[in-house]
């Protein structure tokens, strides 16, 4: 099967979208932690900045994902996009110091395989 340059660019866009969503999620999580219990993301100045940064990354991710879908079939983009689950888990471990048990990793792995099967169907 011939791999066209646009396919590689599309895959690069999917990876970029996964990284952007991860950054957005981490920013929102940091803001949520600062605000305490409940939807208090906007309570502190840092929390407000986290909200702005998070929403900004989500918007850019939307643009990048739209570009990716122009170059890739959804059947390829969707499973590749599930890379986000791994990126978010790794970022949660590294930046947020969350403890990810073997059971949670196994669950993420099953979801990855499941989404790949759904995309291939």
């Amino acid at each position: 099967m011939m791999i066209e340059p646009t396919h590689l660019l599309g895959l690069a866009m999917v990876v970029a979208a996964a990284v952007l969503e991860t950054a957005a999620q981490v920013a929102l999580k940091i803001g949520a932690r600062l605000g305490g219990e409940g939807p208090n993301l906007l309570r502190t100045p840092t929390g407000r900045w986290c909200a702005v940064i998070g929403v900004f990354f989500f918007v850019v991710e939307g643009v990048v994902w739209t570009i990716a879908l122009r170059w890739l079939d959804l059947s390829i983009a969707q499973p590749a996009g599930s890379l986000t689950f791994v990126c978010v888990a790794l970022a949660s471990r590294v930046f947020l110091k969350e403890r990810i048990s073997a059971r949670r990793w196994a669950g993420i792995a099953l979801i990855l395989v499941g989404v790949a099967a759904i995309g291939a169907s």
Binding site: Q25, V26, L28, K29, G31, A32, R33, G35, G36, E37, G38, P39, N40, L41, A51, G54, V55, V63, T66, I67, S82, T84, F85, V88, A89, A91, S92, R93, L96, K97, E98, R99, I100, S101, A102, R103, R104, A106, G107, I108, A109, L110, I111, L112, V113, G114, V115, A116, A117, I118, G119, A120, S121
Partner: protein, 151 residues
């Protein structure tokens, strides 16, 4: 397999022979709300961009969507989505709640089957079962493993 000491509202339970942390019901409500909002946003977005030619750029697509009456509902839905998500993140790990949003796959497939009689092939059915199994495994872990959240 979990590495978390359950808190006041979080007692371990035995599910099919596996010791699992009990996740507060309010977290599950937040996850459910997030999935419903996600599906609603996608449907509203699809309605807003309906009729946009494939050749239209991103700016043209946005302009077209903004002129639709449904765009107001879309903006409200998106704001509610951020509000609900930040509330959820204040109560649970990001690595716990984010993978659970994969539940939208089986829910959407189930709705499409029930409402539109859409057929689900063997490969898709297998994928959906794997997603459900993954969610079940993650759902059995502690919702919060850091002191910053309040689950």
């Amino acid at each position: 397999m979990t590495d978390h000491v359950p808190g006041e509202n979080e007692h371990p339970v035995m599910v099919m022979g596996v010791v699992a942390a009990k996740v507060p019901w309010i977290v599950w409500i937040g996850v459910g709300t997030a999935i419903v909002l996600d599906v609603a946003v996608q449907m509203a977005w699809k309605q807003c961009v309906a009729g946009v030619p494939d050749s239209a750029g991103f700016a043209a697509t946005l302009t077209h969507a903004a002129t639709k009456p449904l765009s107001v509902a879309l903006a409200i839905l998106m704001a509610t989505q951020i509000f609900n998500w930040s509330w959820l993140l204040s109560r649970a790990d990001l690595s716990f709640v984010q993978p659970l949003t994969a539940l939208s796959y089986p829910i959407t497939a189930g709705l499409a089957w029930a409402a539109f009689d859409e057929q689900i092939g063997a490969l898709r059915a297998g994928g959906l079962v794997l997603v459900l199994a993954g969610v079940w495994l993650i759902g059995g872990t502690a919702a919060s493993t850091t002191r910053g959240a309040h689950a």
